[in-house]
């Protein structure tokens, strides 16, 4: 069975700097893959390239058969292009819309779903994530954790096979982190592929199926979290696990 996400030798340059220098990995259905690495290692750039926000200079990214390649224009906007849901570190909810309107907007206008059906789906997604009672709140009235759940619901509204999450644990207390982990595993169990950047090794150990360690724009170590994080081979991985753990915010 082919993977949901297939990243092949992706290179990306920003100005004179090589941000990604040949990144290759796969994410299959039901997997939760964690991307770890010090800040500046290229974690967030990988997510942005997969989401189509940063064009790649070389290599190939295929999501459920739809490919992004260097020099090939992005597919036009519309439901066919939406194979990826993304949850940004700072959520980026639409500030003028309520929680449920944030979730419904893409299904109605991009997916051409009837409003009633879209609203029913949105309520179910918000309920699954435990924030149904906040459906009429505006983003500025939500706590960080609530906003994140609404953002996850919004990313799932078009039912993409791949979900990307950028530093989802950054603003959560430990109890909330485990709730989030459980929610992510539940999503994977439904057959989705999840790619998550994180600097939190406890979270990765507890909830990821695979961990990739990025250093200087290349994958330097990969495997089951129990192996990689218990017996780190690469200096970058060791640096991640020492006490001076940098809190990345990019």
């Amino acid at each position: 069975m082919s993977p949901v996400l297939d990243v092949r030798d992706v290179r990306l340059r920003r100005g004179a700097r090589d941000v990604l220098r040949g990144v290759t990995f796969e994410v299959g259905a039901g997997e939760v893959v964690a991307l770890m690495g010090l800040s500046g290692s290229g974690k967030t750039t990988v997510l942005r390239a997969v989401a189509g926000l940063d064009p790649v200079d070389a290599g190939r990214i295929v999501v459920s058969g739809v490919s992004i390649e260097a020099g090939v224009p992005r597919p036009p906007a519309g439901p066919a292009a939406v194979q990826v849901g993304m949850v940004f570190q700072f959520h980026h909810l639409f500030e003028h819309l309520t929680a449920i309107e944030n979730v419904c907007l893409a299904p109605v206008h991009v997916g051409r779903t009837a409003r009633d059906a879209a609203a029913a789906t949105a309520r179910r997604l918000l309920a699954d994530l435990g924030v149904e009672h906040r459906q009429f709140a505006l983003p500025r009235e939500l706590s960080g954790g609530e906003a994140q759940r609404v953002a996850i619901a919004r990313a799932l509204a078009l039912d993409p096979p791949l979900l990307l999450l950028d530093e989802p644990t950054a603003s959560l207390d430990p109890a909330r982190r485990d709730d989030l982990g459980a929610a992510l595993r539940a999503l994977a169990a439904q057959g989705r592929a999840l790619l998550v950047t994180s600097h939190d090794d406890d979270f990765v150990r507890a909830h990821a199926t695979t961990v990739l360690v990025l250093a200087d724009g290349a994958v330097v170590e990969r495997g089951a979290p129990a192996d990689v994080l218990t017996r780190p081979q690469h200096d970058a991985t060791k640096a991640l696990l020492t006490g001076t753990r940098p809190r990345t915010i990019s």
Binding site: H96, G111, L138
Partner: protein, 506 residues
């Protein structure tokens, strides 16, 4: 008769008069300043042949009123010193004592004689009707011009005559701020006749071809000098000086030098010297009436003018919002060439006076498209404000966080959908407060279009104040009407902003 070319100077002067002392630009009229110069006031802006800046030395003024003022000053043993006063403010300045004598082709009206000390008349003029040469056979009198537009200067006897003809003959009176554009608009067909005095008519006939002036007087009136109401002693001395100059030919020499001497003057001089009444046409609606009665009469036209101001502001703002939004979107999303063109538009519109733009649209384009005054005003204000609105909207669009735009992109929204559903609505909320400010500014800036003969609130107030001889009641009424329009707007904007800021009930 007024002669003002200053664009909107009357409006500015009106506001200055409400707020504080008039701008007094002292200029030496002639000779060296003495210890006690004789201050005399007039309006040198477009004031030929009465008072104008000397083309050879713009720091000096020349004209027949300058010569008369010099004659009077020297007879009093003093040196004349000119004080620049906007024409519509001359009466008020005389009453305040800004100068000893006002001379600027000032008309002899009962209201003026009632409020001020007035000299004997020193020149007789006829209000005459000028038409296009082809219309000479059919438009002989005001009665022939029913349903037609007839132009003159605002706040003058001629304007009062036209208002009377509007009631009696159904003509449409059009008020101008200067004496050149009525004739230009007559030549290009915007109006069908001009009623002004024979001095101005003859001057304009030399500049604009294809016109014919009927020599028959629609009315006869005289120029006088004005002084403060208590200065009757000085007034009597000046009357003696003027009579002496009439008798010994010095006044005739001055009038001849400025090419305004004609056959009307000898009998007029004889009447004045014999202390006989000089006659003149009874002037409609200028007999002194109480301020309350005058206010009652002017209130309907002030309310109508408020509606003009409101309608013009609303329509111009709608145009400004539409064009401004288009420009802003073009500058944010467009290619380099489009952005360059739009930036140039914004900078030109913001960097040049709106009065200039109004004149170009109304008069400059007249050869290509002859826009009605209201439409020209609407387009002028709308296009000018579009430049300012576009900057607000551009800033508001840029203020919507990039992260939301990226979130929209990942969700599959097209650029247009993102603008319509996500970026636009949020930008609109950012823009609302500055937009309301601009709308209130538009209400006030719309007074500028009186230079295009649109009779809006400030212009109507100015006419009211000129005829009443006081700015107190007209100023208060005008301010009240503007506030009645702007305060509800500000209130509405605050409520809308509050509604969008407050937590939504769930």
């Amino acid at each position: 008769m007024t002669r003002r070319l200053a664009l909107g100077a009357g409006v500015c002067a009106a506001l200055v008069c409400l707020a504080g002392p008039p701008q007094v630009l002292a200029q030496r009229a002639q000779g060296a300043p003495s210890s006690a110069p004789f201050l005399w006031g007039g309006d040198a802006e477009g004031g030929a042949p009465f008072v104008e800046a000397d083309p050879k030395d713009p720091t000096r003024v020349v004209g027949l009123d300058v010569d008369i003022a010099t004659l009077v000053a020297h007879a009093l043993g003093r040196e004349p010193q000119f004080v620049q006063i906007t024409f519509t403010s001359l009466d008020q300045s005389a009453a305040r004592g800004d100068f000893s004598l006002g001379l600027s082709g000032i008309e002899d009206t009962p209201a003026r004689r009632h409020a001020l000390a007035a000299t004997i008349p020193y020149y007789e003029f006829r209000e005459v009707l000028t038409v296009r040469a082809a219309d000479r056979p059919r438009f002989r009198t005001l009665a022939d011009l029913g349903g037609r537009k007839v132009a003159t200067l605002g706040g003058t006897i001629a304007y009062e005559l036209l208002l009377a003809a509007q009631r009696d003959h159904g003509i449409a009176a059009v008020s101008y701020d200067d004496d050149v554009h009525p004739y230009a608009d007559l030549a290009n067909g915007r109006v069908d006749a001009v009623l002004l005095d024979n001095v101005l008519a003859e001057r304009s006939m030399r500049k604009v071809s294809g016109l014919y002036t009927n020599p028959d007087a629609v009315a006869v009136n005289h120029y006088i000098g004005i002084l403060g109401p208590a200065d009757t002693g000085l007034r009597d001395r000046i009357d003696d000086i003027l009579r002496a100059a009439m008798r010994d030919g010095r006044l005739e020499a001055i009038l001849r030098r400025w090419n305004v001497w004609n056959a009307d003057q000898p009998p007029f001089f004889a009447h004045v010297l014999a202390n006989a009444p000089v006659g003149g046409t009874p002037i409609p609606e200028t007999t002194p009436v109480s301020a309350i009665e005058m206010t009652r009469r002017y209130l309907p036209s002030l309310l109508t003018a408020s509606l003009v101001t409101l309608a013009l502001s609303c329509l111009s703002m709608a145009l400004a919002v539409l064009c401004g939004a288009g420009i802003a979107i073009g500058r944010v999303y467009g290619g380099a060439a489009l952005r360059l063109v739009l930036t140039a538009y914004v900078e030109v519109m913001r960097g040049t006076p709106i009065l200039l733009q109004l004149f170009v649209i109304y008069y400059g384009l007249a050869a290509v498209v002859r826009l009605p005054a209201f439409v020209a005003a609407l387009i002028g204000l709308g296009l000018n404000y579009a430049a300012y609105e576009s900057e607000i909207y551009r800033g508001a669009l840029e203020a919507v966080p990039r992260g939301q735009l990226e979130a929209a992109r990942v969700l599959g929204f097209s650029t247009g959908q993102t603008l319509r559903l996500i970026r636009g609505p949020q930008a609109f909320r950012f823009a609302l407060a500055p937009m309301t400010n601009d709308f209130v500014a538009m209400l006030k800036d719309s007074s500028l279009v009186s230079v295009l003969t649109v009779m809006e609130l400030t212009k109507q107030t100015q006419i009211f104040a000129t005829n009443l001889g006081s700015w107190v009641i007209p100023g208060a009424l005008c301010a009240g009407l503007y506030l009645a329009m702007s305060l509800p707007l500000a209130h509405l904007a605050r409520r809308l902003e509050a509604a969008w800021q407050a937590p939504t009930a769930s």
